[in-house]
Amino acid sequence: MKKGKFNGYAKWGYIFCIPFFLAYAIFQLYPTFYTIIIGFTDLKGVAATDWHFLKDDLFANYKFILGNSMFRKAFGNTVKLWVFNFIPQISLALLLTAWFTDRRFKIKGEGFFKVVFYMPNIITAATIAILFSSLFGFPMGPVNDLLMRFGFIDEPYNFLIKKNVAQYIIMFIQTWMWYGYTMIILISGVLGISTEIFEAAEVDGANGWQTFWLITIPNIKTILLFTLVTSLIGGLNMFDIPQLFVFGGGPDNATMTTNIFIYNQAFKGSYMYNRASAASMIMFVIIVVLSALLFYLLRDKDEKALERIKKEERKAQKIRAKEAAARGQM
């Protein structure tokens, strides 16, 4: 049996996977453990590579980061920036998906709209960030120019020094960059649903609204979860746009994200690699726990739903059997 499995070809399976695991060990596994270790050491300073484990308190870096008001603020900003770009992004994507997949509308130029809506996603985020900071320039940026020409404002408005406004613009940029991507993914999910279900709903007289909430949404639940998790991971790692849109965390550090915080700790000022590592690991744990939780929640619900359906089927069968029996007796 064992000989059968090791039929002379099995070794090739190992050989073909060796490059992957070698590279993984060197470039990902080792850095991961190294980052974990640095979090417990005194490694800091320009060009420093020597380190010692902390003697007084092994968790001093973690305690510092968790108690640090700037880190907390950065974390709050990151969550806020993600949540308020994800909500409009998924809403807009769902709305467009409902419109584009509804056969009653037959929207012309769907292909064109897809190409245009997705375009911002393909452009370098660094370019987008600086483009928008130029567009919102003060006193004479294009946005100010347009607002004044159409009479919305009398004097140029300095967008980038108001902390709420700077946050709103970053949320807008993120939404603008990603709704097209989300829309295409959702549309492909809807197209994967069997058309018979929609036809049945139509025959039953369901309107567009009912069809969307009762048939489309439940059927693309997995894809919605996929979108949520990938967006969450990306959102908690937000760096390029806030880093380059306004410098140094923005007005009152309103656009400082955790990744900018980590970058500033490690590669600016006093080069606190140890604290940056601790902050990285805290984010690492948060991301892993959150995505595992999301997957667990959804899988659980699916299984429960399956069980319920099975139970109902069994009940229905019993009733039918009883009815049949009753009819037979009659």
Binding site: P19, F27, F113
Partner: protein
């Protein structure tokens, strides 16, 4: 017979209802849909149009009116100012090209190779390895950058583009994608037939498996290339030598003080980084959109 007839009648009326529904959609809603789509189209295109037009205008023109749809004649003037300072589009373009092409080639070849090892051969750790790859797929590499930087620094390899390219050999999400595709696309009989003809295992992979994987490779190549081309975080940490800067780092220089008042020049620098992407995107848009849609199937 009578029963049959009534059934047909019911079906007929059902179809009539469907027809009715299809015709009586709300025309107002349809107009709203088109208006929303057109507004979104303008929102998507406008920033890039303003960028490109302003790249041809002088600072004075931009200060007088920042929005114009008519190109001016200061393109070469702006270019002269742009390259007279630290922004070097040629160097950035070459470095980005080296990194992105290297990353794409390595990721494609080795991910397909690993997937092949997981699909074609039967070995004891196969399932464990696949589970491991799925588990680590979601871990963002950005969070282990400090350890990565320290490692690279210790072996004196910062400012080497190879440190940005070689990690691409281990791309777990691409291995996953390739495996899912290969299961359906590569018949085992084909491999066995080649073996009977005396072909070696690497020969079979290179000459039979890789060509069959072409559709999957094309999709993955586009997204890997674009992702690498646009990457800012890791290059920004590893590269300090201006001659090694990739394009996104070059772009970030435009934000600095040296170009502060040269508005036209900034727009030109942005255009030079965005325009090649826009052109390539418009040429390949059909495949890219299909690729995005395909990506969701794997999830």
């Amino acid at each position: 017979m009578a029963l049959n007839l009534s059934k047909a009648g019911a079906a007929g009326s059902g179809a009539a209802v469907t027809m009715n529904k299809k015709q009586q959609h709300n025309p107002v809603l349809k107009v709203i849909i088109y208006i929303v789509c057109i507004i979104l189209t303008i929102l998507s295109l406008m920033p890039f149009i303003i960028m490109m037009v302003n790249a041809t205008r002088s600072t004075n023109e931009i200060q007088a009116h920042a929005v114009s749809l008519i190109p001016s004649k200061y393109l070469f003037n702006n270019l002269k100012i742009l390259v007279s300072k630290s922004f070097d589009p040629k160097v950035g373009f070459m470095n980005s090209m080296i990194v992105s092409v290297g990353v794409t080639l390595l990721a494609i070849y080795f991910s397909t190779l690993t997937a092949y090892g997981l699909v074609i051969y039967d070995w004891r750790l196969k399932n464990a390895v696949f589970k491991f790859i799925v588990a680590v797929m979601m871990i963002p590499a950005q969070l282990t950058t400090i350890g990565f930087y320290q490692m690279v620094y210790k072996i004196h390899m910062t400012n080497h583009l190879s440190m940005l390219i070689l990690p691409a050999i281990a791309n777990s999400s691409m291995v996953f994608f390739m495996r899912q595709y290969m299961v359906g696309a590569l018949p085992f009989e084909l491999v066995q037939a080649a073996r009977i003809d005396g072909a070696g295992e690497f020969f079979i992979f290179n000459k039979i498996a890789l060509p069959i994987m072409k559709p999957a490779i094309a999709t993955q190549a586009i997204f890997t290339f674009v992702g690498s081309w646009n990457n800012l975080f890791t290059p920004m940490i590893l590269l300090t030598d201006q001659k090694k800067f990739t394009l996104p780092i070059m772009v970030s220089l435009l934000r600095g003080d040296i170009y502060r008042t040269e508005f036209g020049t900034i727009y030109l620098g942005l255009t030079m980084t965005a325009l090649p992407l826009i052109i390539v995107y418009l040429i390949l848009s059909k495949y890219i959109i299909a690729g995005v849609a395909l990506g969701s199937v794997k999830g």
